[in-house]
């Protein structure tokens, strides 16, 4: 199996933004500037809680962390009990996603505005910003927060909490555990985080992009938000786009944009599209090419936009090798707490790796399907479910390639890795 390349940490390679410059300004990405932010967007419009929640509802804002849950309902869920805690979740955790990092570097003040507005709307007593451990990003955020504090913009002090570089660190129960002082391991979600989260208090967890949208809805209103996008899925979303031999792009685009205008989707040069990240779905190019970037069109095919990760797999690469590499990573990223996940995922990863290596195990398909069935819905979090979804779609889309591998040959002509999979040092155990 070809070696997976490690992930570089250089931020200077952000691609310039295309599309409606709402969250990310058009043109090359620049560092954050509070004055420029206030000039461009106006002052932070603190408002009546019920008014903001109603605006979020009318605007049809849904979570941009992948689950697309209606934001106004999440806000309502933490009302009525003790003062809640609000967390801006910037720990995107997906190696293939760069949108949250980019947003936090380029437009942190929109995120921080949204955090203040959400906190005010739910009567929160504590606010946190949760991001992966990255020196440049943390420094930039600390400076931004300090500048706002200096100008007395923020009503609630924002505490920065570092997340470990683990795939599950951004999961809501893992996040609550980490912020409460423990390790970033998922916990059993009863009672849910919205009832007992950080420090036992009701906790509102929102993706940083969602909060940025909220900051703009508070200024311009729900009708403005609905000017782009689709009626069922209004607004814009930020996508991370992977194309072979090109830098990774972070693009803000209206929901409903045709996929083929975002990345090359021409068969046979492109063989498949991965949509939704490593818990997402492979789709054959001919099926994906006519589709818009919208859940309404994707759900019937078993896919969702997720957190906007799109990767166009060229025909020259092997879909099984790429998938095996991802699944191995996902198996290693299991928290190791739930028997079904801990046992099934490594076995699935092993079987796929053996298939990718042209030495398939006996009864491979039967085993894979059995293990997949045993893993689904039997973990405390959705890691096994997402992994199984990715695996099932790979087995469907790369069935022809599987046939070749079973006969001892691989049709790929390029052994370079395509999807970014972090190298994990052996014995890596850091969950804090």
């Amino acid at each position: 199996m070809p070696l997976s390349k490690d992930i570089a940490g250089a931020f200077g390679t952000c691609e310039q933004t295309v599309g409606p410059g709402r969250l990310l300004p058009t043109g090359p990405h620049r560092a954050a500037d509070l004055n420029q932010h206030l000039r461009a967007h106006g002052p932070l419009p603190y408002q009546d809680g019920p008014k903001l929640i109603a605006a979020a509802g009318e605007a049809g804002l849904t979570g941009r962390g992948g689950a697309a849950f209606p934001t106004y309902r999440k806000l309502q869920a933490v009302l009525g009990g003790e003062p809640p805690v609000v967390v801006a979740n910037g720990a995107e955790s997906e190696p293939a996603s760069a949108k949250d990092k980019t947003l936090l570097l380029v437009s942190p003040h929109l995120v921080l505005d949204g955090l203040q507005l959400a906190a005010e709307a739910v009567g929160a007593r504590q606010a946190y910003l949760y991001v992966h451990r990255n020196p440049e990003l943390l420094k930039s955020l600390r400076d931004a927060i300090a500048e706002r504090t200096g100008r007395q913009l923020d009503r609630l002090a924002v505490r920065l909490v570092e997340a470990p570089a683990r795939f599950l660190a951004g999961e809501k129960t893992a996040l609550a555990s980490r912020i409460s002082g423990g390790s970033a391991l998922p916990r059993f979600n009863r009672p849910p985080v919205s009832e007992r989260g950080v420090g036992g208090a009701p906790t509102l967890v929102q993706n940083v992009e969602t909060l940025a949208h909220l900051a703009l809805i508070a200024r311009h209103g729900p009708a403005w938000f609905r000017e782009v996008g689709t009626p069922a899925e209004p607004g814009t979303m930020i996508c991370t786009i992977h194309t072979m031999d090109r830098p990774v792009q972070v693009i803000e685009t209206a929901i409903g944009t045709p996929l083929r205008s975002l990345l090359p989707l021409r068969a046979p040069a492109t063989q498949a599209l991965l949509i939704g990240g490593y818990h997402g779905t492979w789709l054959p190019t001919v099926q994906a090419a006519p589709l818009p970037l919208a859940n309404a069109a994707l759900r019937p095919l078993g896919a969702t936009v997720g957190a906007g990760i799109l990767a166009a797999l060229p025909a020259s690469q092997c879909g099984l090798v790429e998938s095996a590499s991802v699944v191995r990573y996902l198996a290693l990223e299991s928290a190791g707490q739930c028997g079904p996940c801990l046992n099934a995922l490594p076995r699935i990863a092993g079987a796929l790796a053996a298939l990718a290596d042209l030495r398939p195990e006996p009864h491979m398909r039967a085993n894979l399907l059995r293990w997949a069935g045993l893993a689904e819905q039997r973990g405390a979090c959705h890691h096994p479910d997402g992994t199984v979804r990715f695996v099932r779609s790979a087995l469907i889309v790369f069935a022809h390639e599987e046939h070749c591998h079973l006969q001892g040959r691989c049709s790929a002509t390029d052994s370079r890795p395509f999807l970014p999979v972090p190298g994990i040092p052996p014995g890596h155990r850091d969950w804090k």
Binding site: R187, F188, G339, C341, L374, R378
Partner: protein, 70 residues
């Protein structure tokens, strides 16, 4: 009749006592972890369900009564 049995998969260590005490609703997978049926629980099984919950060595099993949210 509205009783449902659920497991906390983090606390569960795969002892398998629950499957012995409530075999009509709980079976073990190939690694010893419980697979719990979603079928409704008839009244005569309730006592066994509660016993299975009480005897779990790690208290991973719990019951949801009629109005409890799943």
């Amino acid at each position: 009749m509205d009783l449902r049995v659920r497991v906390n998969p983090i606390t569960c260590a795969g002892h398998g006592i629950c499957a012995e005490l409530l075999p009509e609703r709980i079976q073990l997978d190939e690694w010893g972890y419980p697979i719990i049926s979603q079928d409704p629980m008839p009244a005569e099984l309730e006592r066994h369900a509660r016993q299975a919950v009480a005897e779990c060595p790690t208290l991973a099993l719990f019951v949801l009564e009629g109005s409890d949210r799943d």
